[in-house]
């Protein structure tokens, strides 16, 4: 039997290089369609839908509502029952996931090309949920369990505090994890009102990877997304970085975060500079593999200080602001010492030049290019830009932006971020946590 397979002709046609390009169109309905075409994406394609709704738009009364929307994504809609939606995705072998962020809801799918039209219709259907009472009730119950799990997850609760402190409870500082105490207040009616106000084509971005852009817009025009006629709309307040400190007692190792205002997604030059600064500081996890930060500043810092278990730089970008900083895990009452070590690394990193800078640029560049090889990562790479900016760069174009980063740029963004009040979050042994003023005084660039 095996011989029969070998004897057969499985040869492939001539495979040629095609350049990856981004194409973008706004349909008459207001729906933005963005495609990454060309390159090799393998035999499958990715299709995703961004909806501009997130925890930043919530109010005291509606806190947690977007996590309920996340749970409702694959439930009943005007065309199909929840069972049909889920079974269809499963039996076509496609994959779909939904993710609720602070400023968007993303439904990301992967499918073989022969199911791409069906998947497009699925995405359109998802934007027209029927929201029967029992589904909202059941999903809210699941969100309750989910939040409970998130609250026990150290990293997720630390980054909740970082956002809350940095933006002082407003906009990006609102809880991303649905607060359990408010889930009982989210009514069936408030979910319907929210969907009516936000599920509009002008509030959505359809993203394709590996599909023809012209065909995609042609097919997308034939189906309708969301509720076109609604005149209600949710206002978006601009995020304002404030900074400050948050200390919380806990047992076990202590988690420390020193963070600053980073950059908004739309400022490409700064996004590139911050991603290089992130590579310079790098990753201080003892298990990191060569290529992911073994030559970085935080790696040697962690190696040379036995009280630091691990440390890592992070760089989060949103539509109108961002957060940049370092998160570290330390043993014992060593927060004060660790924070001054971290701040002096930041000061030193701002003066990076020569080979260290070139290395950080090379690492930042290949990180982007490697991630963007994967269909779903590529989808998020262009989708996120399309959400917040008018121009969308391909991964290679963004890598070019990184190549242009100079030591002056690093100095400039470091100076800009340290000029505002830092954000300090400590969970654990807080007894020797420094004051925010003393942290700021260590950051004279």
């Amino acid at each position: 039997m095996i011989g029969r397979f070998i004897a057969r002709n499985y040869t492939t046609s001539v495979f040629q290089e095609t350049k990856r390009v981004v194409e973008s169109t706004i349909l008459p309905s207001g729906l933005k369609v963005v495609s990454l075409v060309g390159g090799y994406t393998g035999p499958a394609v990715s299709l995703g839908l961004y909806i501009k709704t997130g925890s930043r738009n919530e109010t005291q009364e509606t806190a947690g509502l977007n996590q309920v929307l996340k749970g409702l994504a694959f439930e009943s809609n005007t065309n199909k029952l929840g069972l049909e939606v889920q079974r269809e995705i499963e039996s076509s072998g496609s994959t779909a996931f939904v993710q609720a962020s602070r400023d968007n809801l993303l439904i990301s799918t992967q499918t073989l090309p022969n199911y791409s039209l069906q998947m497009l219709k699925n995405l359109a259907n998802i934007t027209k949920p029927t929201l029967p009472f029992h589904e909202v009730r059941d999903v809210t119950e699941l969100v309750n369990q989910e939040s409970d799990a998130y609250n026990h997850d150290l990293y997720s609760s630390i980054f909740e505090s970082v956002h809350q402190t940095a933006f002082r409870g407003k906009t990006l500082g609102r809880p991303l994890v649905a607060p359990i105490c408010n889930l009982g207040n989210i009514t069936h009616e408030s979910v319907i009102n929210w969907v009516n106000a936000t599920y509009k084509p002008s509030n959505m971005i359809l993203v394709g990877v590996g599909l023809s852009h012209n065909e995609l817009i042609e097919e997308a025009e034939k189906v309708s997304f969301g509720n076109d006629s609604s005149s209600v709309s949710n206002s978006t307040e601009t995020a304002q970085y404030i900074g400050g400190e948050s200390l919380k007692y806990s047992t076990g190792n202590t988690q420390v975060v020193v963070a600053f205002e980073g950059t908004a997604q739309s400022n490409v030059k700064d996004v590139a500079a911050f991603s290089v600064l992130q590579s310079i500081l790098g990753n201080g996890s003892p298990k990191v593999a060569p290529g992911h930060g073994r030559t970085s500043r935080l790696f040697s810092l962690t190696k040379n200080n036995s009280n630091i278990v691990k440390s890592e730089a992070f760089n989060l970008t949103y539509g109108d602001s961002g957060l940049f900083g370092v998160v570290a895990e330390v043993e014992g009452a060593t927060v004060g010492k660790t924070v001054s070590l971290i701040t002096s690394e930041i000061v030193a990193a701002s003066k990076t030049a020569g080979q260290e800078l070139e290395r950080a640029k090379a690492i930042a560049k290949s990180n982007i290019l490697e991630q963007a090889e994967h269909r779903s990562c590529a989808l998020e790479f262009i989708g996120k830009q399309a959400l917040h900016a008018d121009t969308v760069l391909t991964p290679s174009e963004f890598a070019e932006e990184i190549s242009k980063v100079t030591s002056e740029d690093i100095k400039r963004v470091a100076k800009k971020m340290t000029s505002k009040k830092p954000t300090l979050v400590v969970v654990g042994d807080v007894s020797d946590a420094p004051t925010i003023e003393s942290v700021q005084s260590q950051l004279k660039l």
Binding site: I2, I6, T295
Partner: protein
């Protein structure tokens, strides 16, 4: 489900992707990069798939691993993998290797399994020659300094502690230990603690000399890489690699792995949940029915509490487990080796549900063997096809796929062949393979946790008969 005839066609003619659902035309699968394979005089096979772009993955895949060890040096293949990053004559210490790689924005990683070791790099396209140079240097000229070997023991011991804290790792090691008792596959990859503490430089050197021979090395690459140039670089850099004087087949024929129906239960009433595996002897890599068994694996499926579909999952067993609240999670595994394999179910459940869960799992095996229908077979074929083809995503996965398939099959499966072989499977094939492998067999069973209610071995064995249902 009408009106699905017209589909997206990529603007470049090469990417024509239009076909209807009912008559599946796999033409889009023919426009995939060609796999080019060259065998060098010393036996090294170089295989590439050029997909252009900015990044290339290059890896060395070795037909090595713990199956080639003895009781005495068990763990040496894994120890060797750790020591290979520690320095050569040209690159004297670990830092010099790491700095060189990070200076060019590349990355290097490695793993060891029971049958394979792999060392793979990812680099920007202009740096492929540097990657080949680094890989060839560490694989041929590593110094294995004794002081660094001593240091590395602690790292490996802490890796061992970590693995011992993971229930699934423990269960699968136990499963191999019982199913392949007395055979090389029964041993662990890391080896026993006393070996980790005592492996010597000579043992490492001896193992690399014996096993890292040309005929057992595959150098695979994907992405922005040119086959002819890579072949030249490999020829030059890997020139010192010798062909083995024993052929690979000869070497492997002395290693026999017998499957033994048996059980290992480790009772620990302190644990809240039971973790267990029930497995049968399965097919080796090269078996013509390989994809049929993968299909059966897909049909039995996986489930966990976090799954979006919940009770609406299409898999029969998944639906039973979800509605009857039998488990926290379960999965179906199929592990192939060169001469044998393992197939079965892994489950995590409350102690009082375990007997029902085991019974439902084996009942599902019997249902598939005797009365699965065309509808579910066709549906799962589509699912398996999509799952398999979606693995062709990114150069590292492609590079890994090439390396593994050339080592195990001697050739690369093109997406079109995957499609054809899955598409050809019939209900009769599924029932034939399930009947042969899953009916009236003595399984290998292992479990850890509060096992007071764990079914007796003969009870489990008895469920593999239809007349006991």
């Amino acid at each position: 489900m009408s009106n699905i005839s017209k589909l997206f066609v990529n603007s470049t003619k090469n990417f024509s992707r239009s076909f209807s659902r009912k008559t599946v035309d796999p033409s889009f699968l023919k426009i995939t990069p060609e796999t080019k394979i060259t065998t060098l005089p010393n036996g090294i096979r170089v295989a590439t798939e050029q997909t252009y772009g900015e990044v290339a993955s290059v890896g060395v895949w070795v037909d090595s691993g713990s199956v080639y060890e003895t009781e005495k040096n068990n763990g040496v293949a894994h120890f060797l993998e750790h020591m290979i990053f520690k320095g050569t004559a040209k690159r004297p210490n670990p830092q010099s290797i790491e700095t060189e790689i990070e200076n060019m924005g590349g990355s290097l990683n490695a793993f060891t399994s029971r049958e394979h070791s792999a060392y793979y790099m990812k680099v920007l396209k202009d740096n492929v020659p540097n990657a080949v140079d680094i890989l060839s240097d560490i694989l041929q000229n590593s110094k294995f300094e004794t002081s660094l070997i001593e240091q590395e023991r602690d790292t490996i011991l802490s890796e061992n502690d970590y693995i011992q804290s993971k229930e699934d790792e423990v269960v699968f090691d136990q499963l191999h230990a019982t199913a392949f008792q007395g055979s090389p596959l029964g041993r662990t990859i890391l080896g026993p603690v006393e070996n980790i503490k005592s492996i010597t430089r000579d043992q490492i050197q001896e193992f690399i000399n014996e096993n890292y021979t040309g005929d057992r090395l595959v150098i695979s690459a994907a992405g922005a890489v040119n086959h002819e140039q890579l072949v030249e670089q490999v020829k030059e850099k890997f020139a010192n690699v010798k062909m083995s004087n024993v052929s690979k087949e000869q070497k492997r024929s002395t290693i026999v792995n017998d499957f033994v129906g048996s059980e290992i239960l480790v009772r620990d009433d302190e644990q809240p949940l039971i973790h267990f595996a029930v497995a049968v002897k399965a097919l080796p890599w090269t078996d013509p029915d390989y994809f049929v068994l993968e299909l059966i694996q897909t049909m039995i499926g996986n489930w966990n509490r976090g799954i979006a579909a919940g009770k609406n999952i299409a898999s029969n067993l998944g639906e039973i487990v979800a509605t009857e609240n039998l488990a926290e999670s379960y999965s179906t595994f199929f592990t192939s080796y060169q001469d044998t394999g393992l197939f079965g179910n892994y489950g995590v459940c409350q102690p009082e549900r375990v007997d029902d869960l085991v019974a439902e799992m084996i009942k599902e095996w019997q249902r598939i063997a005797t009365c699965c229908n065309k509808n579910e077979v066709e549906r799962n074929k589509q699912k398996l096809l999509a799952n398999t083809l979606m693995q062709y995503d990114g150069t590292s996965k492609v590079c890994e796929g090439i390396g593994r398939q050339i080592l195990t099959l001697g050739r690369r499966l093109s997406p079109f062949e995957v499609y054809t072989r899955i598409n050809e499977i019939t209900v009769a094939d599924v029932q034939r393979v399930a009947t042969t492998l899953l009916r009236d067999v003595s399984p290998a069973v292992t479990a850890i946790g509060p096992l007071a209610n764990f079914p007796d071995y003969n009870f489990t064995r008895g469920f593999t008969y239809w007349n006991r249902l």
